[in-house]
Subunit: 377 residues, 2 copies
């Protein structure tokens, strides 16, 4: 429909590995975390992943008000100063997009084409939500708490502000925050200035940015992003299971140096310390294993303590890369709830909750002598 090609409907399944112009438009707007940024325990602003459904709204903090209402005894209207004057908590939280890994599915669901880097960990500062709901006085019969953002657009044929809900039970968990700072600084526009929701352990769609209203309702929320999007469905007719907490995933910093175009890695023969991060929203990470042969054999890595129960943990592993040759490194995490990453794609209609293991192609050999493959010239 534009000069670069033919539009295809969102949600269409694509049978080629090639990416349509519409997918590219999303890929250039939305930012992945370059994998070498896994070196940072706390992701610097500008390297954290970003998925912005519509446009980043312009918000004037001086006139900003958060409304809290619906099925409550009294409506509240809170300015940013009032929110910041309340008790504050700072918590390191790993956020990951529910669609992370989508672009590696086959057939591929037409949406934001993430490879595997839609993740980041930040220190969020904010005020807990539960006491605010308590002040508003949630009435008997309350079911869901709806969070409405200032961002607006059309998706699935529906003109909407971005809205998601939590059950009342999830909403009053102690770790759920209304956050106004990231890594010790005010939120930048792209992370939800002046105020966003943080729901530790959940995929990114729950952490509503540019939050303008919190509404308690006495029936299940039926909004587009809750009832239609973000479900693990095996066919169009399948009602599916809603996406919620994050499945385990480990990622490594690709070793050596990259080829610009193919991102193939070149490593001088040596012992390499491979490092990375692993996380799960469903339980503590209990194992991270590394394979240098594409998943045929595995060795354990050493796990390091995370900053918080909701943040990724570091891991390190020595890899004997003294023998020249081509290798496929893989890494696989498991959590205390018994979830382990699959070797193969976990296909579904929307391409959500795909946590297949990362694979990195590495060529061990002397860079000085090496004839670089023709495909990277």
């Amino acid at each position: 429909m534009d000069e670069v090609g033919q539009s295809r409907p969102a949600g269409t399944l694509i049978n080629t590995p090639d990416i349509t112009p519409d997918e590219l438009q999303l890929a250039v707007r939305n930012h992945s975390m370059p994998l070498e940024a896994l070196r940072y325990d706390i992701t610097p602003v500008g390297l954290h992943y970003l998925l912005i459904h519509f446009d980043i709204p312009v918000v004037d903090a001086s006139s900003y008000e958060l409304s809290v209402g619906g099925h409550v005894r009294r409506q509240l209207r809170l300015s940013i100063d009032e929110l910041m004057a309340r008790p504050s908590t700072t918590l390191a939280v790993t956020l990951e997009c529910a669609g992370n890994g989508r672009a590696r599915l086959h057939p591929r669901p037409m949406s934001q084409p993430w490879l595997c880097e839609a993740v980041g960990t930040a220190e969020w500062t904010g005020t807990p939500l539960a006491p605010i709901l308590e002040e508003a006085g949630v009435l008997d019969g309350a079911v869901d708490v709806v969070f409405t953002g200032l961002d607006r657009g059309v998706q699935g044929g529906v003109d909407q502000h971005y809205e998601r809900s939590l059950s009342l039970e999830d909403a009053v968990r102690a770790e759920v925050l209304l956050a106004y700072a990231i890594n010790g600084r005010p939120l930048p526009p792209q992370h939800g200035f002046p105020m966003r929701l943080i729901v530790p352990g959940w995929y990114g769609m729950a952490h509503v940015k540019w939050l303008r209203a919190i509404t308690v309702i006495d029936q299940p929320f039926a909004g587009y992003q809750q009832a239609r999007a973000y479900h693990h469905r095996m066919s169009d007719g399948d009602s599916g299971a809603p996406v919620a907490t994050i499945l385990p995933r480990a990622l490594m910093v690709p070793p050596g140096v990259p080829d610009f175009m193919s991102r193939t890695r070149f490593v001088e023969p040596s012992t390499q310390v491979i490092e990375g991060r692993a996380w799960s929203g469903r339980g503590t990470i209990v194992s991270v294993d590394l394979s240098a042969d594409g998943g045929a054999s595995w060795m354990p890595t050493t796990l390091h303590d995370p900053r918080s129960p909701y943040a990724w943990c570091g891991w390190t592993c020595e890899w004997d890369a003294t023998r020249p040759g081509e290798y496929e490194l893989c890494v696989r995490a498991g959590d205390a709830a018994g979830n382990v990453q699959p070797l193969d794609q976990s296909w579904n209609v929307e391409g959500v909750e795909n946590n297949a293991v990362q694979r990195v192609r590495v060529v061990v050999g002397s860079l000085a002598d090496r004839q670089v493959p023709a495909d990277s010239r």
Copy 2:
């Protein structure tokens, strides 16, 4: 060559609008500026465009030293504290990737597939380069000044640290800075921590990040990024013209609200104030014209003063969007040197210096009544 598809050589020409898996890998690593961020005179960190050829290197500022040597009377070694103790300048500078617009070319050169958003404007603080070269004492016969980064990788079959040069004449221009801060804060890793070159008016490839060495040489620099890459060539055999200063370009903030997938814009019938930015490295912007009919007719916009001679200027224009229908908005800038943006692509082998006008599809109509096109469901 990897699990998502077939690798094709960098520089290959691609005849379909679809994007290969290798191009997608670059698109997810490298960040565009979402177009609504044109609202900010100074781009917030995290929204400025990023092109990182290899990996972001890890640098320990406490042991960092910049060496200045080669064809000079005395070598200098400068710590970050010594560099920061020197006279400082703060300057608003618009940076744009030389390959901006590449993904809209046909056939498309295989490299980073930018649409049109590879741009940003920051306030850079640093110390001028010229007095440092004066202290080192450039010897007679000096030709080029080579800037070497700490980032390393393989490109075009060549294992290299990222390196670019300037002629001695360009290097000693007063506005050329060794920058250690962006928007009043230390450089984040992705912008070249702890020190980078800023060459106002030039495309991004000149602004070497993670700068570790400055070397004066008595012959033209023949490094890969200078002599092979970044040339405007019409065929493989053409030696071409080196890429240098930025051609004019204007971009608009797309009006109304977007469709998630197609990014088509929906506008309620009304008078719209269209706003955006325009810049050129070759002369002051003297005209920005807006078209609502795909370039058939044009109306002038109002230009606003830029923050510096090297920063974009704002522009605004009222658009009578009261009549429902479909429109293609275009915007076109011209500079004082007589350069005007072309309506059509400016094709070349590498896909550099392409400054064809931006085109934005807008549907004017009531969002409440509107049947959203089937292609965005």
